[in-house]
């Protein structure tokens, strides 16, 4: 494995995880653009990305389903690292320090910080709601089987879950671009020792023990 070769780097994401993540990104862009196009008239131009309004309607559900499959493939492996712990509460309370780059005032962070964990479960919840409500409002194949009241509720829930999802992804992207070295973790698979030490110290300690101890 190439990732562990340099003594100053720690492996964070395996090739399969990186491929799945970026596949997820592409699918999210297409599903998100076509969905937003139908959500607000001011964004209808985004339907052009998938080849116009009718093509957006045809493709959006398939792209969305593929996105969910990719997400849950990725999420299955990350689930165990995202379990919330008592120290996460203190991290969330110190959110101002996070935004002010005062990480020294925050409790030690494991593989993921509390913000990332909350984001993870928001994504899980949103995608579950999106799949369920999306099937109900999938007009060509499924809507005929459901009562109109459920279709109306699903349309509203679908829009709400999608809004939360896009909001979560905006936070995710902003954080990834802000914390230098994060994008490299998802493109090269590795982070520097200092990055892990600064942002995820508990994980850093775990890693140096497990890579050097045996």
């Amino acid at each position: 494995m190439a990732d562990g070769e340099s003594p100053d780097l720690l492996p964070r994401y395996q090739p399969a995880e990186r491929v799945t993540h970026w596949l997820l990104v592409v699918l999210f862009v297409f599903a998100g653009a076509s969905g937003l196009a139908l959500f607000h008239p001011a964004l209808f131009w985004l339907s052009g990305l998938l080849g116009g309004g009718p093509w957006s309607v045809v493709l959006h559900p398939f792209v969305g389903l593929a996105m969910c499959v990719a997400f849950f493939m990725l999420a299955r492996g990350l689930w165990q690292h995202n379990r919330l712990e008592p120290r996460d509460r203190a991290w969330l309370r110190g959110i101002r320090d996070v935004l002010d780059k005062r990480e020294d005032r925050l409790p030690e962070v494991g593989r993921y910080n509390a913000g990332q964990k909350v984001l993870f479960f928001v994504l899980v919840g949103c995608l579950a709601v999106l799949v369920g409500s999306g099937l109900v409002i999938w007009r060509v194949y499924f809507s005929g089987y459901f009562p109109i009241g459920l279709i109306r509720l699903s349309a509203l829930l679908h829009a709400f879950a999608a809004f939360l999802l896009v909001l979560a992804v905006i936070v995710h992207i902003a954080a990834a671009l802000w914390v230098k070295g994060s994008v490299g973790a998802m493109t090269r698979g590795t982070v520097t020792l200092g990055w892990a030490f600064k942002h995820h110290r508990a994980w850093f300690r775990e890693m140096i023990r497990s890579t050097t101890g045996r």
């Binding site: 008239p41 045809v58 349309a155 905006i170 520097t192 600064k198 942002h199």
Partner: protein, 301 residues
Amino acid sequence: MALQSLDIRRRSATTMPAPAVRAAATTEVAKLIDTSKCIGCKACQTACMEWNDLRDDIGTTSGIYDNPRDLTDRSWTVMRFSEYENPKGDLEWLIRKDGCMHCADPGCLKACPAPGAIVQYANGIVDFHEENCIGCGYCVTGCPFDVPRISKRDHKAYKCNLCSDRVAVGLEPACVKACPTGSITFGTKEQMQRDAADRVVDLKSRGFENAGLYDPPGVGGTHVMYVLHHADQPALYSGLPARPVVSPLVRLWKGATKPLALGVLAFAALAGLLNYVRVGPNETDADDESAARREKERTNG
């Protein structure tokens, strides 16, 4: 914009106001269907087929008079027959010509995400422009009367357009033209309301004390109205809703939610950018690297 009767008052998925200068002077039209005069001959269905060049699939008999059984993409109006045993023990045959009601506050138009796929003319007619339709079915979700149908062939939405092409050149809708009993009439909305009021007085004098006009205010009134002998129980007429409204779920989905959600998303993106430039990028410096290396060596050693 050549024809005044084609002036557009509202257009789906359009946030700017429609051209309004000529709208005020335009008379609103309405079709009045007097259920008490209807004999169920289906001339209106045939006329609709002929004028609009629609040929639905041949169905199968289901033991009742309704034929076809329901509205479809190619049957824009159907007569619905119901047998009602009144409290006196007499049988009443209540026949209602079903189809688009042309709501003043149309749920289909509110729900539609495709710019210009649904328009409401200044005369009140709600028309689908199938060339702009994207086939999402949101109009079905928005309609309180279960009228729009998505075609299985081209995945576009279809419904009665009140013969907007005929009305535009001063003709009445095809179903009105064909009706042999004068059950269906067409004119200005005020005139139809006046005619209905006269007919209601007449019906009351003949023993139908609950006769009345069906012009439901929940959807702002409609441009297709019924005279009902039992206006207190519209549901008798094959489930005509008593108090139709655009569902609150649809109002929320296509109302306040839209600008609010978009605003929050824009704010989140902007806040991310501004915090980035406020505190600068969150970088790992040489101190972090050397501290990390020292700790790693300590653990190793």
